[in-house]
């Protein structure tokens, strides 16, 4: 059993377990020079003076030196959208602490940093727009020239709102916020670029999830034909969205290699990541639910503010967060009327990037805290009100008020199973009894849907400069009868080297050890927009299946001829070509095709044993995974500590290609979500200085800080995808802040306290409790 649905151990593991992985920083090219960046120490200002030391003018570069390099401009077709020009090195104005201003090269990084310290920099400091509120003030300076205000984009959506709101007797308003954080893959950004004289190519080894898109971006900004660039993503140490975009540093290193014709390397360090990469999650919500007396939400009114940072990233733009927030806010609920105004505001902080869950961690947090608030307002248990609001299975497929087409599943069923799994009734009894140690117990739920594997229609609507349309895979039987699969996306922990091989095995029957998956290299693979949006297994999996299926009749035709059997009576079965009286191996067929063509049938398909499979799911509006997360917490009202006593995920991602990998994605995503809920925060001083520049300030959850998460599965195959798979990469990270906060609020609401801003630090919790005491 190693096909679709099997718990196959990963083929990626061995090299990592032996310390033989090949991450960018593990590569070494003779003569490589290291690059270090001088970064703006202030959040907003104008460079007045910038000068290299006299003895190092040829080793220090500013924007003026980067002849021919265009700025990064992420154009969006969203109405009213405003572009920003993001130069690889700031040409004059600096817009966030950490923005690259100059770069220095030296034989090793320490020496490059020595050189950076000797660059003279004077910046005229301007008032910083540190918060969205500051940036939206009428008299705020404009962050980008020519902008009428500091909004990247404003979106409005309204459907049947007034009618349903007017009919609702209960009105509940809730304001919640998520703090800024960093994405923090354990490997930061890393680039090693060189010039390949023989190929006439700029070869860029870079830690990216999207090698083909990076090639397009490099080509556009460097002014090269794409064929003159090869982008290779070797082993990549986690991405989570951070490695989806064209980075200024990547551009600088590519420019150096192109113009100096020798290898240059830049490896982002942790301080750079935590300061210049403090770039995600920061949303503020002002929600009003219009509900009936049972707590059924009839209409939802929302104002969402995304703190977009200084620039629009390429290619996902500053439009994707507001677009996703607006479209996903109604969540898994059968809300009838909806009105939403969403703004993405430019501030003096790093450019907002799409992090695992993209906006949905925020919308889930907002809507789930609102559902609990509605329940309290009508005097019912949140779990009951939540159940009553969920789209019932009988209503599937269901088009929600934001136009999302939910393609099956039992949302209330997932809630019910989570409720049972945590022992809900026992918890309520325990709460009534109280705790001997003075702590307070709470239980909270969060249910969400996750649009996964969506295509052109959805990304097109978000106005991106690159929109995924179709996915291709190449399947090649090698002369010795093994199989090479080529896919243009990148696997960096998702286990695609294993799971795509499982799919090929499912189709062709070749043993896994005879199947190799080649990915992450524009020189080796067909175009793909890459690995993001929980799309890999659906899209690349579908393309691999198609490519393998294209090979089948060709294998059978040659095999039948070799066995002197009729094609109609011959079939591929478990890796062998089986005729009524004989069997041939794929190796024998391959031998004939590659090395002994005299034995081929006269009408043989001249395309041979290499096939391109193309794929698009039956609908490109996405297939929806969903889950309910349940958290049981103990809150210490003196210390402000929150201990997670139990955490249960009940998830449905359709057919699981490899259940072990699905669990791994879910565990990992969930702990990242717990990080957002309780630990991770890129705090800023009032003048825009980032205050979390090390892991002593920016806390990540460790093994002792999180519980042994329990996962329960439901399996509703998607009607739209190969094998019925739904995407699963991001989901885990969506619900934990909502579940944790609902649990904490469940624990502290008898004290009159409520929390609604991530992360839930002891200080925030104690402040909420103190405020409640004052109110009494």
């Amino acid at each position: 059993m190693s096909g679709v649905g099997a718990r196959v151990l990963r083929r990626e593991d061995d090299r990592h377990l032996r310390g033989r992985g090949q991450f960018v920083a593990d590569l070494h090219l003779p003569g490589q020079q290291e690059v270090a960046f001088l970064r703006s120490p202030v959040a907003h200002g104008l460079i007045r003076h910038l000068a290299a030391p006299d003895d190092a003018r040829d080793r220090v570069f500013a924007q003026a030196d980067l002849g021919g390099l265009k700025p990064i401009v992420a154009r969006s077709t969203l109405p009213g959208y405003r572009d920003s020009e993001w130069h690889a090195l700031a040409p004059g104005r600096v817009r966030f602490v950490g923005e690259p201003v100059a770069m220095a090269v030296a034989p090793d990084r320490a020496e490059a940093e020595d050189l950076v310290e000797r660059i003279a920099l004077e910046i005229e400091e301007w008032p910083a727009l540190v918060t969205a509120a500051q940036a939206l003030a009428a008299d705020a300076p404009r962050l980008h020239d020519g902008w009428p205000d500091n909004r990247f984009v404003s979106l409005r959506y309204e459907k049947d709102f007034e009618r349903h709101a007017a009919a609702a007797p209960v009105v509940v308003r809730r304001q919640v916020r998520l703090s800024r954080q960093a994405i923090v893959p354990l490997e930061g950004k890393a680039v090693l670029a060189t010039w390949d004289e023989r190929a006439g190519q700029l070869v860029v080894h870079t830690a990216t999830q999207v090698p083909h898109m990076i090639r397009s971006g490099l080509a556009e900004t460097l002014g090269l034909d794409e064929h003159a660039i090869r982008v290779i993503a070797p082993d990549v140490g986690g991405g989570f969205g951070y490695k989806l975009i064209l980075q200024p540093e990547e551009l600088c290193v590519a420019w150096l290699a192109l113009t100096r014709r020798r290898p240059f390397r830049y490896v982002e360090d942790r301080r750079e990541h935590l300061t210049a990469g403090a770039n995600t999650r920061q949303h503020a919500y002002d929600l009003t639910a219009h509900a009936d007396e049972e707590g059924r939400i009839l209409a939802l009114d929302a104002h969402v503010t995304v703190d977009g940072g200084a620039y629009s990233n390429w290619p996902f733009t500053a439009g994707i967060e507001p677009g996703q927030a607006t479209g996903n806010l109604p969540g898994p609920y059968a809300i009838r009327g909806y009105r939403c105004r969403t703004e993405c505001v430019a501030t003096n902080k790093p450019a907002f990037l799409p992090y695992r869950g993209v906006a949905r961690t925020g919308v889930c947090f907002a809507i789930e805290l609102l559902v609990d608030a509605v329940a309290r307002a009508v005097g019912r248990d949140p779990v009951d009100v939540r159940r009553d609001n969920l789209v019932p299975p009988a209503a599937m497929p269901f088009e929600n008020v934001a136009g999302k087409r939910y393609d099956g599943g039992d949302y209330p069923g997932s809630l019910e199973r989570a409720r049972e799994a945590v022992g809900f009734d026992a918890i309520r009894a325990r709460q009534a009894a109280g705790e001997a140690d003075g702590r307070r117990i709470g239980v909270g739920f969060a249910t969400y849907t996750e649009q996964t594997a969506h295509g052109a229609k959805v990304f097109g609507a978000w106005g991106l400069p690159i929109v995924p349309g179709y996915e291709q895979a190449v399947a090649r039987i090698t002369p010795d009868g093994a199989l090479e699969l080529r896919v243009g996306l990148q696997s960096h922990g998702q286990g695609l080297e294993t799971t795509l091989a499982q799919i090929a095995h499912e189709e062709l029957g070749l043993p896994l050890e005879r199947i190799r998956v080649i990915h992450g290299d524009t020189g080796e693979t067909p175009f793909s927009t890459g690995t993001y949006a929980s799309r890999a297994i659906v899209w690349a999996g579908g393309a691999v299946a198609e490519a393998c299926r294209a090979l089948k009749p060709r294998l059978v035709a040659i095999g039948a001829h070799l066995m002197q059997a009729a094609v109609a009576e011959t079939r591929l079965d478990r890796g062998r070509i089986v005729a009524p009286l004989a069997e041939a191996s794929i190796r024998e067929v391959a031998f004939a095709w590659y090395r002994d063509p005299t034995r081929l049938p006269p009408d043989v398909d001249p395309r041979g044993l290499e096939a391109v499979g193309g794929y698009r799911p039956a609908t490109d509006t996405g297939t929806f995974s969903y889950a309910t997360h349940a958290a049981v917490v103990a809150v210490d009202p003196d210390l402000g500590a929150v201990e997670i006593l139990d955490y249960v995920v009940v998830e449905d991602c359709g057919r699981r290609i490899n259940p072990m990998v699905v669990d791994g994605q879910t565990y990992g995503g969930t702990v990242q979500g717990l990080g957002s809920a309780l630990f991770e925060e890129s705090a800023y001083s009032a003048d825009g200085q980032p205050l979390a520049s090390t892991f002593a300030d920016y806390l990540l959850p460790g093994a002792a800080d999180v519980p042994a998460i329990r996962i329960l599965h439901m399996e509703t195959p998607s009607p739209h995808t190969t094998y019925g798979a739904r995407g699963v990469g991001e989901g885990g990270a969506i619900a934990p802040p909502a579940a944790i906060f609902n649990a904490v609020n469940d624990a502290i609401h008898p004290l009159g306290a409520v929390v609604g801003e991530t992360p839930l630090t002891p200080r925030r919790l104690l402040a909420a409790l103190a405020e409640a005491r004052l109110d009494r």
Binding site: R18, A137, P690, A692
Partner: protein, 408 residues
């Protein structure tokens, strides 16, 4: 260069790299042992964990130059190790790795945990593995894999007999007693008579931003209570000088004297109302030298003054600005009370930490030290008043190394 030699994976290697090259870089770049990874370079993430003299340690904050004679073992040298073989198998079977970046360090820490584990106790294992961050797996597979190996080793008799219970976390009270009388300390009174206290921001800090941060309204990060909306922090203090106000007033116009009193200050030039110089500030091992200029405005009638200064630490590109307002009032017949209101602002790498309270403590310590030295200087004089300076209020444009913040 250092001529220390180390044993690396059984091979003697001269540590001939510059002393500043940390063990992680030395192993990766010089010896091409790239199994260990660098995830933070400040000792927290654990991706660089290797064995030093048989114990797990961070390679990123160890220096080969200081490790003469040490035995280093990296992930590349465990292929003959039975515990590591079990762990590798268990890691794969329990899906304890995804991207693989943390895995080599994780395995070295896990092997140490297996050898020390009192049993397959999940809570103990989670605690012991807290120093190795993984961003992919949520730790579930990692913990299961270690539990599995510990269990296997116990079942096959490979493990040491269960070690005695871990050291007690506490010893409970057995009987009451009357302690030796200890003086009940008064609330702290800093040396030099200064009584600094933190205050709400005052109006003199630039008011470019009237709007408050919606997102940080109730966030109250640790120790940020006295930072105002423009990033200025503030300390108020007073101290008593054992001289009459006239003499004290004169002393406060004597820049060389003030420079001698201010810890770490060196004067490079001074006019009537402007000084240039540098201030070296130290906090533990941290040293920064802020070079810059300050202007002084004094009102003799009111006996008040404001010193405004700005400086930059050339190496870290950190900058500071400070405005010190002072007011003199008589304190008894022979003394002067000096009230100080210090507003300061720090930007750049030295500012980028969450422990502003410590910086504020430093500011208060500097004030106290200044007061002590000023008193000592004045006490050392033989009663004659220092030469007086023009004392009318002066307000002039000033040239600074760091251009003045625009006021809009």
């Amino acid at each position: 260069m250092s001529d220390a030699a180390l044993d690396v994976n059984g091979r003697t290697v001269a540590a001939d790299a510059p002393p500043r090259r940390h063990l992680g870089d030395w192993l990766r770049e010089d010896l091409r042992l790239t199994g260990l990874h660098l995830g933070c370079e400040h000792g927290v993430c654990g991706a660089c964990t290797v064995e030093i003299d048989g114990a797990p340690a961070r390679a990123c904050i160890a220096f080969p130059a200081a490790l003469a004679g040490a035995r280093i073992r990296t992930i590349e040298a465990f292929d003959d190790d039975a515990v590591m073989a079990s762990l590798r198998r268990a890691f794969s079977e329990e899906h304890a790795l995804q991207c693989g970046f943390c895995t080599p360090g994780m395995l070295i820490a896990a092997r140490d945990a297996v050898l020390r584990a009192p049993g397959p106790d999940e809570a103990w294992i989670r605690r012991e593995m807290a120093g190795n961050l993984c961003r992919c797996t949520g730790y579930v597979g990692i913990v299961r894999a270690i539990v599995r190996v510990v269990t296997e080793r116990q079942e096959t008799g490979l493990a040491l007999p269960p070690s005695p219970p871990t050291a007690p976390a506490t010893i409970r009270v057995r009987r009451s007693f009357v302690p030796r009388e200890a003086a009940d300390p008064a609330p702290p009174a800093p040396a030099g008579g200064a009584v600094p206290r933190d205050m709400a921001p005052r109006d003199m800090a630039p008011r470019d931003m009237a709007t408050r941060d919606m997102a940080t309204r109730d966030m109250a990060p640790r120790d940020m209570a006295t930072s105002d909306a423009t990033g200025w922090s503030r300390v108020e203090a007073h101290f008593i000088v054992a001289r009459q106000p006239d003499a004290t007033w004169a002393a406060l116009a004597d820049f060389p004297l003030l420079a001698r009193c201010f810890p770490g200050a060196t004067l490079t030039g001074h006019g009537a109302d402007r000084v240039t110089g540098e201030v070296e500030v130290g906090l533990g091992p941290i040293r920064a030298t802020f070079r810059g200029a300050a202007t002084v405005e004094r009102d003799e009638g009111l006996r008040t003054g404001v010193v405004s200064g700005a400086g930059q630490d050339g190496r870290s590109a950190s900058r500071t600005r400070a405005e010190i307002a002072y007011r003199l009032t008589p304190d008894g017949p022979d003394g002067t009370r000096v009230d100080l209101d210090v507003a300061y602002r720090l930007t750049g790498p030295l500012a980028q930490f969450s422990r502003a309270g410590i910086v504020r403590s430093l500011a208060r310590a500097l004030v106290a030290d200044f007061a002590r030295r000023l008193n000592a200087e004045l006490a050392g004089r033989d009663g004659t008043a220092p030469p007086s300076r023009p004392a009318s209020a002066i307000r002039r444009a000033l040239a600074r190394l760091v251009p003045r913040r625009r006021r809009r």
